[in-house]
């Protein structure tokens, strides 16, 4: 029997074997459809490189996203240039799709900067946010500002299944509902909050939480990039039209460990990982594009070659990054540093 994934009550446009399920016209032209594949291939290649770089001691710690490429690329691709992303710490694929400079992004994992050295305002991509669920609060605040300023832009917050149990999620979602702010709450439900399985995280499907706030909640196959794009696009349009927030639960899976500091074999069975490998989002989409005649094998090969070359450049740039100037440690803590601190720092550098 064909494995259809974990749930049938979710939006899906392409089946795991790459065949279309109903209408696959999500409003993208062939160039965009090809771009989605190109971005996912790049993202995976870089993700694997980052794992290797961490093992070689070139990165301090790294949270892999393998398996979640469609959820991130599909959702980020649905945003407009003035929309703002509020990521957690596993959204490098979304950053790639948004055009964030990945060498600057990886400075965080290199330990040469905190939160990513890219310009968050220019990139419309907030600094990497490790405290779980706090970025949802930031997203709602930004969205409230966007509403008050009348700029017609929307915020998108990425978070995981574990974050939905945090009080910050609740406070942000409630406030977003009360003030009808233009925000998309995008949950990548990858089944595990470090070692806590979904069954110990919630007694109901996460999408159903939206009903408690009074806005729509939608479940989508997070390994189907077209479905993710379509539901996110609809949520973004809804937000821009002044109709308030939407909660999207993208069902996906974290193929790797929580981070390079985690051994996932201690809490989950290899069969489960294997099952999800067979539901791979990139392979599914590749088959779909090939089957639909939108790309040929040579395009796929070119994508892979291009990703390989790009990642080589990124690797060279990242490994060349030295430690930041010492005084940056305190340079940005205060707009006007207190005299005690400046004196202490001067004494230290003079010594």
């Amino acid at each position: 029997m064909r494995d259809t994934g974990p749930s049938d009550d979710m939006v899906r446009h392409v089946a795991p074997d790459g065949t279309a399920v109903g209408d696959v016209d999500v409003g993208l032209d062939e160039g965009d459809l090809r771009e989605l594949l190109r971005l996912m291939v790049r993202a995976r290649r870089l993700d694997r490189e980052c794992m290797a770089l961490q093992r070689q001691g070139e990165l301090t710690v790294y949270p892999p996203f393998e398996g979640q490429e469609a959820a991130q690329v599909g959702s980020a691709f649905a945003l407009g240039p003035s929309d703002f992303v509020f990521p957690s710490f596993r959204e490098l694929a979304a950053a790639i799709a948004r055009g964030v400079d990945v060498v600057e992004y990886l400075q965080y994992h290199r330990g040469t900067w905190h939160g990513g050295a890219y310009d968050p305002i220019a990139a419309r991509f907030a600094p990497i946010c490790v405290p779980v669920a706090t970025q949802i609060v930031h997203a709602v605040g930004w969205a409230l500002g966007a509403k008050l300023d009348g700029i017609g832009a929307c915020a998108l917050a990425y978070f995981g299944d574990g974050a939905t149990s945090e009080g910050d999620f609740h406070e942000a979602a409630n406030m977003a509902a009360v003030f009808r702010v233009p925000v998309v709450l995008f949950c990548q439900n990858n089944g595990w909050a470090i070692s806590v399985p979904l069954s110990e995280q919630t007694a109901v499907p996460i999408a159903r939480r939206a009903g408690g706030y009074g806005f729509p909640g939608v479940r989508v196959d997070g390994n189907d990039v077209l479905a993710v794009y379509a539901v996110t696009r609809a949520a973004v349009e809804r937000a821009r039209a002044g109709e308030g927030p939407t909660l999207i639960e993208a069902i996906t899976y974290r193929i790797g460990p929580h981070t390079t500091a985690d051994d996932a074999t201690r809490y989950r069975a290899p069969e489960e990982v294997e099952r999800w490998r067979r539901l791979d989002p990139i392979e599914r989409y590749r088959r779909f594009l090939l089957g639909a005649g939108i790309v040929g094998e040579e395009f796929v090969a070119a994508c892979e070659a291009e990703a390989e070359a790009w990642v080589a450049e990124v690797r060279t740039a990242v490994t060349a990054l030295g430690p930041p100037p010492e005084d940056e440690m305190v340079a940005f803590a205060f707009a006007e540093p207190p005299t005690t601190l400046t004196r202490e720092w001067r004494e230290r550098t003079d010594a």
Partner: protein, 354 residues
Amino acid sequence: MVTSTPERARTPGADWRVGLSDDQLKELLYLLKLCRYFDERMEALYRQGRLPGAIYSGRGQEGTHVGVAYALRPEDSLFPTHRDLSAQLTKGLDLKRVMAQYWGRIDGYTRGRDGNSHVGDWFGHRTWTVMSHLPIAYPVACGAALAYKRRGEARVAMGICGDGATSNGRWHEALNVSAIHQLPVVWVVNNNQYAYSTPNPLEFRVPTIAERAAAYGMPGVRVDAQDVLEVYRVAREAVERAREGGGPTLIECVSLRWRGHAGHDPAKYVPKELLERYMREKDPVARFASLLIERGVVDEEEVKRVQERVENEFDEGYRFAQASPFPVPEDVTKGLFTDDGYWASEPSREGGTG
């Protein structure tokens, strides 16, 4: 599951007394009148400058407080807010000691150490000492319920908070954990329509708080708190389901806060017509007295006797509180940690009454 309750007392064929005996109905009447009178007199003393500290009136919400707490057994625990003194009195706290608490005396439940309204009797009547940060008692109630479940005790925890507290992250965390682990806990929301000055529509977007229960996977019930019997019936059902392993329930009791958030708040933000309508048509104390007279459980004379009783008890409590000594300054560092034996020993009564 959200149920909107009909006026049971006037529904033909329904057990209007929800299984309660005449004595129990009379006890409810006594509690309602006691709580109302206490609230009114304490506010009068506060305004006369004779009561120090702050007061948080629960007037108009007695149907909620008395109804939910009456559904608990002595071994069950109650986690109230500063507005839920009526629920604590229903759980069995001694009025005299509560009043000693308000005047900072040694016979108060916290031995004179508190501003005044943070009262509780954990080792006696199983009411958790009030904490001002809302709904900080919800996670604690969740923990108590987890302990009961793990120890295999047939006990239930009940947390109370207001409508405003439902927007706080702790509320969410407590409800979620209780639903996942099917804990023996009852979540009561005293929806008195105002979180300080914030009205319900600026607090949440859903029409009712009760329907939030579905977002956690537990039953939710909305009840009109002018009807103490209906509140009691709903709470008893939830308490017994929790005791039998059926997990948590969310109960939204709807009333109106008749007074300000605290004694200092004139609450001009509450529309006058709304307040007058509630006071005229939805007074849970007057309504219950009329019901018992109508049903022949009590007569006018007996209602008067109950009123006299609570007035005498208040006066007695007031005298007791004034005669009770202040704590001695030397004891101020004692009892901060459990192992010095302060709370198990008799306190010094040398503080004088000033």
